[in-house]
Amino acid sequence: MSQRYRLPDGGRIDRTAPLNFRFNGTALRGYVGDTLASALLSNGIHLVGRSFKYHRPRGIFSAGAEEPNALVQLGTGARSDPNMHATQVELIEGLKARSQNCWPSVDFDISAINDRLSRFMPSGFYYKTFMWPAAFWMRYEYIIRHAAGLGTAPTGRDPDYNDKTFAHCDVLVVGAGPAGLAAALSAARTGARVILVEQDAEVGGALLGLAGEKIGGKPALDWVAAARAELVESADVRILTRTTAYGYFDHNFVGLLERLTDHIVDPPAHLPRHRLWKVRAKQVVLATGAIERPLVFRDNDRPGIMLAGACQTYLNRYAVKAGQKAVLFANNDGAYATANDLAAAGVKIAAIVDTRPNPEGPHSERAESAGLPVLAGHAIVGTTGDKRVRQVRIARLNDDGSAITGEAQEVDCDLLAVSGGWNPAVHLLSQARGKIRFDEERGTFVPMQTEQATHVAGACNGSFGLASCLTEGFATGETAAKAAGLSSKSRRKKTPAASNETFLPARWTWLVPSETPLGRGGKHFVDLQSDVTAADLKLAIREGYRSIEHVKRYTTTGMGTDQGKTGNVNAIGIIADTLDRPIAEVGVTTFRPPYTPVTFGAFAGRDVDDLLDPIRKTPMHGWHERAGALFEDVGQWRRPWYYPRAGEDLHKAVAREVAAVRTSLGVVDASTLGKIDIRGKDAATFLNRIYTNAWSKLEIGKCRYGLMLGENGMVMDDGVTARLGEYQFLMTTTTGNAAAVLQHMEEFLQTEWTDLDVQLTSVTEQFATISLAGPNARRLLSEMTHDIELSPNALPHMAFTEGTVASVPARVFRISFTGEMSYEINVPASYGMAVWQAVLTAGERYDITPYGTEAMHVLRAEKGYIIVGQETDGSVTPVDLGMDWVVSKKKDFVGRRSLARPDMLKPDRKQLVGLLTDDPQVVLPEGAQLVERALPNPPMPMIGYVTSSYGSPNLGRSIALALVKGGLARKGETIFAPLADGRVVPCTMTDPVFLDPEGERLRG
């Protein structure tokens, strides 16, 4: 085929740049400037796809974003895109597109049988059947699922990448038709920062598809070009084409999707494919135009049936005749303009069928004077033609248009252009909570009120004449700029003159009558994509689904990828007629983002793969990596989990690390612990209120363990805090809670205890923390410092001092989380790596062993120390943990009152115990549930669960911690852990401290 429907000249395509592409495997040609749809039409192809439910042949219906039918799959493999609008896809060399939802081919589709069976598949039929036998639903469902869906998902990781950006402006103009261009011009002339977005590749809007329009006496597109040039020249104006404003959110925040490379054959690798713009606009001008509405008549869905305005666009913009012999069907004057243009291009006009008994308007007058055949007061009552419309049936309407009178006549055609009026594209306005109202004269919903800093201009505002589009555009642009705080600097230019013709008056008909009662012959489609017919709507109402929202959901009208852009208003009209209620009362369904579909990847932008979320690394991270550590995620931090040597698994490595700490020396990177500098006269008072225990008497240079509760009495965090001075403390928090603890304390300081003189500063990242533990800890440290007195008297357990370690200024805390003699050395983070390496080198003679979080957990469990988040889960009090010793009875503190609530005092709360399996070799899984008595089958009452469990190399047996109902009073009793593999493990409850209960080792 050789583009035999292409006009010899005209249009905005580049005839010097022919392109090759494939559709369903067939090689075809088009030009630069074509869309896939225009190129297909130029080759005489109307049949593009099959409908969702009945698999009816469907063609190209529109020329833009509103397309319900012509959805295609582009590309293959990982770079494949389902459900693309052929009407928006720019043709590029080598493009490969294919039809969707058909098998084996779009021409012969097995599932077209559904159309024959459609009688048994009215709306909601699946709610009424497939229920027997009950167990069969999953099989029915399998079949239903496979029949549904349109295109197919890509099959691999997307090779392209996407981007996101924030942007700010004074005036955001959406839509670059005459109204939008005018608005952008007048706003820009005030010096405002303007962003103009246009979903199309070109600015100009509807003018691109019209012929003979004049602005200021010259061809309209000259004005468009001049406007564009002026905007490009203006400082602070950004024109974004191929960019859709997809959503209008609160506080004038608008989401845009820019498509940067879809129209490039071999996009350079450095360019993102799509970019999500997050625009904060002071003012927004919506100039999104209007969408033409079809008419609902019998069998109105065949390929070759098309919106009148789209025919006109294909003709004028793409130089394509959508057919040779056209019938037009309209209820307004609009379609005559199409007829006039088609006739001028040599298309035979077989009939113009007008539901109006007395057509009036400038276009119809022109058509009549040109001698085009007009059938006034008539309607199309049926069509034939399988894969392309072949013939229409035309009959006269009665006076009120509710029925036909007389015999129908048949007229042959290969194109049927329809126009049922225009719907302003109020989507974004409505998303922004703006109100719309039904306008009887214009037969559609028009903007009524804005709720944000929004202005509306042009066809989107229901102003359909070109002159009013321009006038409104210029006026709103200036108003918006003024509202954004700018004033017009240059003298206002005169608005160029243009004609103000519209298609009104019209005769609004929602459902065109036909020869047989509705539902008894043929189908009157309302939603072409979802295959919803007028009969479906009426059935829903008959069945009691009367709200517009129920009708939508029961029939799925407006729920397809086009979101009812062409169909919804007709649906509302038909529902209103059926219910005999005014359209305004029936209302519309909610407009939701996106205006047109937006790629998932654009929302992710570059925050994918390694950049998905920050991984926080300590100053020594590189060392851990080189040492072959395996890592564990703790909050955003990635911490060494264990350092396996050749042949070691987790257990072997951990056993070695644990043994090293108990017998000689281990070292752990504890830099991730939160550190908060607390300063001020009231610092001690403040700690008294934040921690459960008392702080006033802590001596300078001493440390104390503190437990922090939420106001609900539940353990929130713990850690050691040192008193650095009379008015200065350094608090440590758990790794995962550092930020939360700081926020918790700031909140109390700023909102409750505003009289306290306390300043908090996070110093978590200021220091690298190297923790030495083991019998040789002191020995090693003494070799690395010359100015710190380390004797047990000078620096006893729970003391703090300052000096240098490896010649680096250091704070040394003698505290222990392992039960061994242990020093926590804080050095400025930049020196962390150096000191760490120095420690490792100096420690060689003690066989110093770096250990990870897992060994640390074993070591602390041997001592019965809790881990917040492991022994606690937000429902555990200090009393439950047997830690009353750290809870002051004398003072108030955050969470104290909650501990006195009735349920906190119950003896059968889950409480912390040690747990020893009767068989010392069995290591319970963490999370194992505990029962009093194992029953042969579930359910069985559970009394607690294992919070921590390890093989303890030092004890030569397994140990565990558990929370058990009433556990504190039940030590010595046996309970059972029924495991997933069927074993039932008997265990005995004990004290949670398994090793060195006297604490001799840590005092050293």
Binding site: W132, W137, L150, P154, F600, G635, I867, G869
Partner: protein
């Protein structure tokens, strides 16, 4: 013509051009008085009315809905049904619900498309694994199906998932409830409405309750857009509007109403035949029978009655989805929306009495109450009819916030050390 749905009635009606289908429910004018008035026509309210009529013989019931049935969270949720909750009390309640789901289509004679395709929650770190083990063991001993899967088993179960998840959130394991799945949300509301209506319940739509008449601490009835309606007992099941109703009745609740959002992709041919949830990357996803990917996003943190969500939430959610399913990056979002979820401090519901005599409340289901619809309605009906909570909902009283018996379903708290 029989109102019963079956393949035969479908054929019979097809032959009659579907002109004889009766209304699924009537749209009656309210009577002056009822034994029980249920406020709120979401799934929970409708189920309550149905079980009152069906199980407890209380048929003089009106259900009053401000807008259209199912227009609240019932009509906007991601339809995930499971019963593998952490605490015994919750697990028992949700499992009761699960059992009702398993026979619901037949019970209601309305296909709610309950699809037991499995719900798999992912673990991305050691902490997640521990929490899953605890929960899975508890479920198993409680008689609720639950399996822990290894990464290899997950790969086999959902081949298109990327277990590396961008390397940032590798999948280390998962907990699968095979009996879990999805159901067709709207059908649940409609099915209950039709069945309740058939038992005599009056369903009054487009009629907001604007006040309560309370004498001596006892409720007398409700003020509505359609006038005063007397009632011996009133059950309030209005989800996001619970605080507003409590305000009208003169008490306060430990509930905040927040915008939670969801979105769907364009319809595509089947690619995902189970439900995937991930707490760490915060997203959940399934594919509907119509072909859209149904994706749940996070909640905005602030109080909001706007039934819409903000853009950054879709960014986070879709970012997560793109990591788990790199092949979905080119797919496109077709529609996004929000619901008003009523969140309790412990992420568990409140089902029981209120300070007003004769007035009962069922709320606080937050982000996860769709799965509870049958069970919640069932226990609430029992509670209203017997004037005291059923064993299954006794723990979910309003009083628990006073005594401290919170049922914390946030999952285990933050990670530490």
């Amino acid at each position: 013509m029989s109102a019963r749905y079956s393949i035969f009635s479908l054929i019979r009606n097809a032959l009659a051009y579907h002109e004889d289908w009766p209304a699924a429910w009537r749209s009656p004018e309210p009577k002056p008085a009822y034994d029980v008035v249920i406020v709120g026509g979401g799934g929970h309210g409708l189920a309550t009315a149905y079980y009152l009529a069906k199980e407890l013989g209380v048929r003089n019931v009106a259900l009053i809905e401000r807008g259209w049935l199912g227009g609240g969270n019932t009509g906007r949720n991601t339809t995930i049904v499971r019963s593998n909750y952490l605490w015994d009390e919750s697990a028992a309640l949700y499992e009761h619900s699960m059992k009702l789901w398993e026979g619901l289509s037949q019970d209601l004679n309305y296909n709610v498309m309950f699809s037991q395709r499995g719900v798999l929650s992912l673990a991305h770190n050691q902490h997640d694994l521990r929490a899953q083990s605890r929960q899975s063991n508890a479920n198993r001993l409680g008689g609720i199906d639950s399996e822990l899967l290894t990464p290899a088993q997950i790969k086999a179960f959902v081949p298109i998932m990327d277990l590396r998840a961008g390397g940032r959130y590798p999948v280390l394991g998962g907990a699968l409830q095979r009996r879990g799945g999805t159901a067709r949300h709207d059908a649940v509301a409609w099915g209950y409405a039709r069945a309740a209506d058939a038992l005599g319940v009056d369903i009054i739509q487009e009629s907001p309750v604007t006040g309560f008449r309370i004498d001596n601490g006892r409720v007398q009835g409700v003020e509505t857009a359609k006038g005063f309606i007397q009632a011996d007992k009133v059950g309030i099941v209005v989800a996001g509007h619970s605080g507003v109703m409590a305000d009208l009745a003169g008490f306060r609740l430990p509930v905040t109403s927040q915008p939670l959002q969801a979105l769907v992709s364009e319809p595509i041919k089947p690619v995902l035949d189970t439900v995937i949830m991930s707490g760490a990357v915060h997203a959940y996803i399934s594919q509907s029978d119509k072909g859209e990917l149904v994706i749940g996003a996070g909640a905005d943190r602030y109080v909001g009655y706007g039934q819409r969500g903000s853009m950054q939430v879709s960014e986070d959610t879709l970012g997560a989805i793109c990591e788990l399913f790199p092949s979905f990056r080119r797919l496109r979002m077709m529609r996004q929306w929000g619901g008003i979820v009523d969140i309790c401090p412990d992420a568990s519901p409140i089902i029981g009495k209120t300070p007003v005599e004769g007035m009962f409340i069922n709320c606080g289901w937050g982000t996860g109450g769709f799965k509870a619809t049958p069970g919640s309605g069932w226990v609430f009906a029992q509670t209203i009819a017997h004037d005291r909570p059923h064993d299954l909902n006794a723990a979910f009283s309003l009083d628990r916030f006073r005594t401290g018996y919170i049922i914390d379903e946030h999952g285990a708290a933050g990670v530490a050390h």
